[in-house]
Amino acid sequence: MKPRILEVRTKILKKNDEIARALRDRFADLGVYVINVVSSPGAGKTELLTRVMKVLSERGLTVAAVVGDLATENDAERLAESGCKAKQILTGTMCHLEADMVEQAIEEFDLESVDLLFIENVGNLVCPQGFDLGEDLRMLLFPSTEGEDKPLKYPTLINTCDLVALSKMDLAGPVEFDTQTARANCESARPGVPIVETSARTGEGIQKLADLLAAQIENKNSKRAQYL
């Protein structure tokens, strides 16, 4: 018996892409700038974000965050220490965030008043890659403690990132982190990617990172103003 062939030709993550597109449209309508933050577990995402959120809200921006973890509300509580709204997403066994989880998590936010939304992804350097969350910018954290060759080991995720923050730079000395090589390795995974050196502990680079993000938000808003 000859088989019957059904041509489909569709993206496997079509559903996620559709939800992400709807989110992106909604964020654009409401003037919310969205950043998807990815890294390995323990890279210091929550600590750095708490610092940056505090700085940006002191500059008059309304910042909010959602954070994905398999278990515990700890990270949302830590992010809330910045004075901003933060909501935990519990993923159970899931190693990455998907667009529908974000959609659900932001339900209780008054998005109209939000200027900037951080989405702190589950710590993982592989799985978050293909899952669009409707973000404007994808930021990678790469800590000095992981060694300068990390970007060479996980090139495909880094290739999708628009900004790299080297984190825990206060420990670069003790762990003999070769910053120049690390920068070159980021470049080889994502040619031309902007790189900022930061330390949540000493405050190094926090203002610079805040400047960079504020400029991106400004840029999106002025485009939006032209469009309206």
């Binding site: 018996m1 088989p3 041509e7 569709t10 496997i12 470049e187 994502r190």
Partner: protein, 125 residues
């Protein structure tokens, strides 16, 4: 192991496609195309597939994975070259860093093969 999520999405899509075509299962073969830069490991997807397909119209179906290598276009020397695996994002011809990816991000469901039960479905077009 995000491949399990991907396998579940695949089955949802397959069910939708079969239904839209007015057909019924079981599906015998599922053909997908997966790029080297998609973040999907073919072996992991294959492994997740069997579990995800259990109890669905795809149960027992063979997953055929066509792997697409990554390719970049070089702005400087205008050549198109294939990336190594794992990739370094540089032109294979002149060695300059290249950011323009032209292939390798694919993650597509291409086609399904079903048993042809013409007598049940009526005449085939």
């Amino acid at each position: 192991m995000h491949e399990l999520s991907i396998a579940i999405s695949l089955i949802d899509l397959a069910m939708e496609a079969v239904q839209d075509a007015g057909l019924e299962g079981p599906v015998q073969v599922v053909r997908v195309r997966v790029g080297a830069l998609s973040g999907v490991v073919a072996e992991a997807l294959d492994f997740a597939w069997e579990t995800a397909a259990e109890g669905t119209i795809c149960e027992g179906a063979r997953l055929e994975i066509e792997q697409v290598p990554g390719r970049v276009r070089c702005e400087a020397c205008k050549s198109e070259t294939q990336l190594d695996d794992p990739p370094t994002f540089a032109c294979g011809n002149c060695g300059r860093p290249t950011a323009e990816i032209i292939a390798g991000k694919e993650m597509d469901l291409m086609a399904l093969e079903l048993e042809d039960r013409a007598e049940t479905y009526g005449t085939q077009e």
